[in-house]
C-alpha cells in the first residue's frame, strides 16, 4: 500500500501594504492560478500569501520570482488604468459622437 | 525650359487698353467676330483677319512686317514660338509685360493664387511674399472664362490658396461653372481645413472632379513642424485631411523626399496605412532645386540613390495597404526596379530635361527626367539603363 501523495511545499511571500496594493496582489493570484492556489493572511500593514504549487514540477524560485513580478506589474497596470481613464472616456466620447460613420 | 514671360514685348499701334488684362490666342482666321474683340490673333503667313483686340507676332524683325502699321500689335521674341491656339496671355502694355499664363497643350496648367503662405517650408519652390496680391484672383476668374472647356486638368497652388478664404471658394465655383469637365487639383498645406466649417464650404460647392493635395512629412509632429517651419502645423494638417475626407472631398498626401523626411519614410508609410488609409493617393516626390532648397541644401540634400531602400520599403507598405501610390520627379535608374511601375512622368514639359549621363538610355521615354533646375545638384549615380534590364 502506498503512502499519501506527496504535496508540494507551500511558499510564503510577504507584501507590505505601504508598497503594494491588495488589488494588485489579488489580480496576481488570479493570473497565476494555473500554477498555484493562494491563501491570504492579513496583518496590519501587511499581506502574507501562502502559495501552494499545483504541480510538483514547479520550481519554488521560479514561482516566487514570477509571482513577485506579477504583483509589481499588476500595480503598474492599476496605476495606468487610473491615469488614463479620463482620456479613454474622451476618446470613447469622440468615437460615438457622430451618427454617421467615416467609411 | 520654356520662356513664359518677358518684359521686352514691343507694343505698337492703337492698344485697346494699357492696363493689365487677359486675352485668349487664336489662329483661326474665321473665328466668330463677336469673340474677336476679346482675343488676340497669332499671326502666321496667311492674310490677317480683322476685328481682333490684339495681333501677336513672334520672332520676326523688330520693325515688323509691312502693313502692320495700324494694327494693335504685340511683338514677342522667338522664345515664344511655342504659342498656339487656345493659349492665354496676360498683357500689360504699360509695363511692356507679357506672360503666357495658360498653354492649352501643356501637361499641367498651374495657377498661382497668392504668394502668401502660413508655412515656410525649408524646400519651398515658391518662396512666400507677404504682399497684397488679391488682383491675381480677379485675373484667374477672367482667365477661367477664356479657357477652352475640353482642357483635362488645371491646378491651383501658391503660396497657400486657402488664405484667400471665401475667394478660394469663388475660384472653385468658377472652375465648376466654366470648366465642369476639367479636373481641379488644389495644392494646400491643409491647415485651414482643421476648421470643419471651412472644409464643409469647399464640399458644398460639389465640384465634380476635385482633389486637394496636402503635404505631410513625418509620423512625428516636431519633424513635420520643423520642415514646414511652423509650430502646430502637423496637428492642423492632419485634422484638415480628416475633415476633408469626412466631407467627401478627395485628398492626397504629398511627401517631398530629402534628408529630413527620408529617415522616417517607412514609419510615415506605416502611419498613413494605419491612420489615413482612406486617402485617395500618396505622392512621393523628388526634391526640386529651386527656391529655398538652395539656401538649405546642407540640411536637405541626400543623393536619391542613397534612399533607394527606404523608398522601396515605404512604397511596399503603402502598396500592401492598397493605397494608390505614385513616385514623382525621380529618375528610373536610381530607384529599385521593383517599384518602377509607381514612377510617373510628372515634371511639366517646360521644366523637364535630361543629363549627359543619360546618353544611350533605353527607358528615357518612360522616365520623368530632371527639373532643369537640377543642374545645380543631382544624383551621382545616373546611368543609362541598358536594353536587357527592360525585359520584365
Amino acid at each position: 500500500m502506498s503512502g499519501p501523495e506527496p504535496k508540494p511545499a507551500p511558499l510564503v511571500l510577504s507584501f507590505p501594504l505601504s508598497m503594494f496594493s491588495l488589488e494588485g496582489i489579488k489580480r496576481a493570484t488570479y493570473a497565476l492560478m494555473a500554477r498555484a492556489t493562494v491563501r491570504f493572511e492579513t496583518t496590519p500593514g501587511e499581506v502574507r500569501c501562502i502559495l501552494i504549487p499545483t504541480s510538483l514540477k514547479e520550481e519554488p524560485e521560479a514561482l516566487e520570482r514570477d509571482f513577485r513580478r506579477e504583483v509589481v506589474d499588476q500595480d503598474l497596470r492599476i496605476s495606468i488604468e487610473a491615469q488614463t481613464e479620463p482620456v479613454r472616456n474622451a476618446i470613447l466620447g469622440l468615437t460615438f459622437s457622430r451618427t454617421g460613420l467615416q467609411e | 525650359m520654356i520662356t513664359l514671360d518677358t518684359r521686352a514685348a514691343r507694343f505698337s499701334g492703337e492698344a485697346p487698353t494699357l492696363e493689365r488684362h487677359v486675352v485668349r490666342l487664336s489662329t483661326n482666321a474665321l473665328r466668330p467676330r463677336s469673340l474677336r474683340k476679346r482675343e488676340a490673333y497669332l499671326m502666321g503667313d496667311g492674310p490677317v483677319p480683322e476685328g481682333f483686340a490684339w495681333y501677336v507676332r513672334v520672332g520676326s524683325s523688330v520693325e515688323g512686317a509691312e502693313g502692320d502699321g495700324h494694327l494693335p500689335l504685340i511683338q514677342l521674341p522667338s522664345d515664344f514660338r511655342y504659342l498656339a491656339d487656345g493659349d492665354i496671355l496676360r498683357v500689360f502694355p504699360a509695363k511692356s509685360l507679357v506672360r503666357a499664363i495658360f498653354r492649352k497643350g501643356a501637361s499641367i496648367n498651374s495657377f498661382l493664387l497668392t504668394e502668401r503662405c502660413n508655412n515656410l517650408c525649408l524646400m519651398c519652390s515658391q518662396p512666400p511674399r507677404n504682399v497684397d496680391d488679391g488682383w491675381i484672383v480677379d485675373e484667374i476668374l477672367e482667365t477661367l472664362a477664356h479657357i477652352d472647356f475640353d482642357v483635362p486638368e488645371i491646378m491651383f497652388s501658391g503660396g497657400e490658396p486657402t488664405l484667400l478664404g471665401d475667394r478660394l471658394f469663388e475660384l472653385v465655383q468658377a472652375s465648376k461653372s466654366f470648366l465642369p469637365r476639367t479636373s481641379l487639383h488644389i495644392l494646400s498645406n491643409g491647415r485651414s481645413f482643421a476648421d470643419a466649417e471651412f472644409a464643409r464650404k469647399l464640399a458644398r460647392i460639389a465640384h465634380p472632379d476635385l482633389m486637394v493635395g496636402v503635404p505631410l512629412y513625418s509620423d512625428l509632429a516636431h519633424i513635420h513642424d520643423y520642415v514646414v517651419q511652423a509650430d502646430g502645423a502637423y496637428d492642423e494638417t492632419v485634422r484638415g485631411i480628416l475633415n476633408l475626407k469626412q466631407e467627401g472631398v478627395p485628398a492626397e498626401v504629398r511627401v517631398v523626399l530629402h534628408k529630413q523626411t527620408v529617415p522616417r519614410l517607412a514609419n510615415l508609410a506605416e502611419f498613413l496605412a494605419r491612420n489615413l488609409l482612406f486617402v485617395d493617393h500618396v505622392a512621393l516626390m523628388g526634391l526640386e532645386m529651386t527656391g529655398f532648397t538652395k539656401a538649405n541644401l546642407a540640411d536637405l540634400w541626400i543623393d536619391p540613390a542613397d534612399y533607394a531602400d527606404e523608398l522601396r520599403k515605404a512604397v511596399g507598405i503603402l502598396d500592401r495597404a492598397r493605397i494608390n501610390t505614385s513616385i514623382y520627379n525621380t529618375q528610373l535608374c536610381i530607384i529599385d526596379r521593383s517599384i518602377w511601375r509607381f514612377a510617373k512622368r510628372s515634371i511639366s514639359d517646360w521644366k523637364q530635361e535630361f543629363m549627359s549621363e543619360c546618353e544611350g538610355c533605353t527607358v528615357r521615354s518612360e522616365c520623368g527626367g530632371f527639373f532643369s533646375s537640377a543642374g545645380l545638384r543631382y544624383s551621382a549615380h545616373i546611368r543609362p539603363v541598358a536594353k536587357i534590364e527592360c525585359v520584365s
Binding site: 489580480r27 488570479y30 493570473a31 497565476l32 492560478m33 494555473a34 506589474d73 499588476q74 503598474l76 497596470r77 496605476s79 495606468i80 488604468e81 491615469q83 488614463t84 482620456v87 479613454r88 474622451a90 476618446i91 470613447l92 469622440l94 468615437t95 460615438f96 459622437s97 460613420l101 467615416q102 467609411e103 | 515656410l120 525649408l122 509620423d219 512625428l220 509632429a221 516636431h222 519633424i223 513642424d225 520643423y226 517651419q229 509650430d231 502637423y234 496637428d235 492632419v238 485634422r239 480628416l242 514609419n267 502611419f271 496605412a273 494605419r274 491612420n275 488609409l277 539656401a295 538649405n296 511596399g316 507598405i317 500592401r320 495597404a321 492598397r322
Partner: protein, 485 residues
C-alpha cells in the same frame, strides 16, 4: 541671417512632459513585453522602460519615446491629434457590429453517407425524412434571416450531408432570391458538402445561383479516409474528383476546403499542407482540436492537446512562411484573421474571435427541426445533451424572442472580454475574442477562468508567436499582404 529655425526649437514643447494614452502590457518573453494601445497597435519594450514610461520619466529624445508617440501611446504639448485619430480608428473597428447578423446557417438534413468519428450530428440512415428540414421550417427561418439589418447576407447550407437534400436547398435559394428582389441585399450562398454525391444536377444548380462550395479535406488520402469513413472507403477519391469538377465547371475559386484536426493530424502538418497545394488551394485554415465529442471536462484535453497542437500549428505556419519566401503565395487563414486585427484598422468579422462574442450577433444556426442556435458549436453541444445555447424555435418564437433572449444576452454580456478578469488587462485583448460556449463546455462558466482556459492559452501562444515572427522584415511583408487581402 537665417529666418529658418533649427530642429531643436520644434522639440522644445517635448520638454514639458507628456500624458499617457490608454494602453495595456503583457509579457512576451523574459523581460520583453508587448504594449498595445486602445485599438491594438503594438510595440515591444523592455520591462524597465514601461515603468519609466508610466511614471512620466521617459526621455523625449529617445527612440522609445518617438515610437510610442508615433503609435499613439502618448500625447504631449507638441501634438495631440492622436486623440482624434484613435477615436476614428476605434469607430472603424466597431462599425461592422451595427450590421448585426450576416451569416445564416441552415441545417437542411442530418442524413449523411459518412460516419466520421468526430462528428456529433449525423444520422447514418440515408432514407429517413424525419431528419430533413421541412419547407415550412425553411420559410420561417428565411423570414427571420431577412430581419437582420446586415447589407450582406450569407446563407450557408450544412448537415449531415447537404446534397442529400438538394431539393430543399433549391427551395430556400429560390425563396431568398425572390424576397431579395425587394430587399436588395448582397447575397452569398455556400454549400458545405463532402462532395461524394456531387452530380450534374448539383453542379448545374450551383452554376445558376453562383453558389460557393465548401468541402472537407483532412490531408493526404490515408489520413483523410481514416478520419472520414464511408461505405467504399473512398471519401478522399470522391472529394478530389468533386473539387476537380467544381473547378472545371464552376471556376477555380468556387471551391474552398476546411480540415478537421485530429490527433492523427498532429504529426503530419507538412503533408496536409502539401496536399492542399497539390489540390490547387492557396491557403489553409489550421484549425484547433475540437473539444466537442472528446472528454471535454478532463484536463488531458486541455494541456496535452494544446502543446502538441501548438507545435503542429507553428511547424505548419513556418513551413507556409518558407513557401511564401520561396515565391509560392499561400496563406494560413487563422493567422491572417489575427493579423488583420493587429496590422490594419479593419475588423475581420470571424465569428469565433470576436468580443462581444459572434454568437447570434454575427452568425445564427437554424436546425432541421426549427430550433435556433447561437452558433454551430451550440448545436453540437445540444447533440451532446446540453441545450444551454438553444435560443428558440422558428415555429414558436419571434425575432425579438430569439435575439433578445436572456440566454443570448447573458452569454454576450458575461463573456465580454473587456470586462473579464485577465482579458481586461491583457495586451492581446484587441486580437482575441470571447468564446462563451467553449468556456461553458469546459469550465461550466461562460466567462471561464482564463489562466485555465485552453482557448486563452492557445490564442496567447499564437499572438506571441506571430509577434515574434513579425520582427523579421521579410515575414512582415508576407503578413501584411495576408492582413490586407
Amino acid at each position: 541671417m537665417s529666418k529658418f529655425q533649427a530642429l531643436k526649437s520644434y522639440k522644445s514643447s517635448l520638454a514639458s512632459g507628456y500624458r499617457l494614452l490608454p494602453f495595456r502590457f503583457t509579457q512576451l518573453h523574459g523581460d520583453e513585453y508587448v504594449l498595445s494601445n486602445l485599438i491594438g497597435e503594438f510595440v515591444i519594450l523592455d520591462r524597465a522602460i514601461i515603468g519609466q514610461f508610466a511614471q512620466g520619466k521617459l526621455d523625449p529624445g529617445g527612440a522609445a519615446y518617438e515610437e510610442l508617440k508615433a503609435k499613439h501611446f502618448l500625447i504631449d504639448d507638441d501634438s495631440n491629434v492622436a486623440v482624434d485619430l484613435l477615436a476614428l480608428k476605434l469607430r472603424t473597428k466597431l462599425a461592422p457590429l451595427a450590421n448585426f447578423t450576416a451569416l445564416h446557417l441552415f441545417v437542411t438534413t442530418l442524413r449523411c453517407d459518412h460516419s466520421c468519428p468526430y462528428c456529433q450530428v449525423s444520422r447514418a440512415n440515408d432514407d429517413l425524412r424525419e431528419f430533413d428540414m421541412s419547407e415550412d421550417t425553411a420559410l420561417k427561418a428565411i423570414a427571420l434571416a431577412f430581419r437582420s439589418p446586415s447589407p450582406v447576407l450569407k446563407f450557408e447550407f450544412q448537415g449531415g450531408e447537404s446534397l442529400l437534400n438538394l431539393s430543399l436547398i433549391r427551395f430556400i435559394v429560390d425563396e431568398v432570391e425572390r424576397r431579395n428582389l425587394e430587399e436588395r441585399r448582397e447575397l452569398q450562398f455556400v454549400i458545405a458538402t463532402n462532395l461524394a454525391l456531387l452530380d450534374d444536377e448539383a453542379i448545374e444548380f450551383a452554376r445558376q445561383h453562383n453558389v460557393l462550395i465548401s468541402t472537407s479535406l483532412d490531408g493526404p488520402e490515408d489520413l483523410h479516409n481514416r478520419n472520414r469513413p464511408r461505405p467504399g472507403r473512398d471519401s478522399y477519391a470522391r472529394t478530389i474528383k468533386g473539387i476537380g469538377r467544381v473547378r472545371k465547371e464552376l471556376g477555380r475559386d468556387r471551391v474552398g476546403a476546411l480540415m478537421t484536426t485530429t490527433a492523427a493530424s498532429l504529426e503530419r502538418g507538412r503533408e496536409i499542407i502539401d496536399e492542399y497545394i497539390t489540390q490547387g488551394f492557396h491557403g489553409i485554415f489550421l484549425r484547433p482540436l475540437s473539444p466537442y465529442g472528446f472528454a471535454v471536462k478532463t484536463k488531458s484535453y486541455q494541456s496535452y492537446g494544446q502543446e502538441k497542437w501548438l507545435k503542429f500549428y507553428f511547424e505548419g505556419l513556418d513551413y507556409i512562411i518558407d513557401l511564401n519566401l520561396q515565391g509560392y503565395p499561400f496563406t494560413e487563414y487563422y493567422a491572417s484573421i489575427i493579423l488583420r486585427k493587429m496590422l490594419t484598422p479593419f475588423q475581420p468579422g470571424y465569428v469565433d474571435l470576436q468580443s462581444p462574442s459572434g454568437i447570434g450577433v454575427a452568425a445564427i444556426v437554424y436546425n432541421y427541426d426549427g430550433d435556433v442556435y447561437a452558433s454551430d458549436e451550440s448545436r453540437m453541444l445540444a447533440e451532446m445533451g446540453d441545450k444551454t445555447f438553444c435560443i428558440g424555435n422558428v415555429h414558436r418564437d419571434s425575432y425579438e424572442d430569439i435575439f433578445l433572449n436572456d440566454r443570448l444576452l447573458e452569454a454576450l454580456e458575461s463573456s465580454f472580454a473587456a470586462s473579464a478578469p485577465m482579458c481586461s488587462w491583457c495586451a492581446f485583448e484587441p486580437y482575441c475574442g470571447a468564446d462563451p460556449i467553449f468556456h461553458h463546455t469546459t469550465q461550466s462558466s461562460m466567462v471561464g477562468k482564463k489562466p485555465l482556459s485552453a482557448f486563452c492559452n492557445r490564442n496567447m501562444a499564437i499572438f506571441k508567436g506571430l509577434i515574434e515572427r513579425l520582427r523579421r522584415p521579410e515575414v512582415k511583408e508576407i503578413f501584411e499582404r495576408w492582413a490586407y487581402s
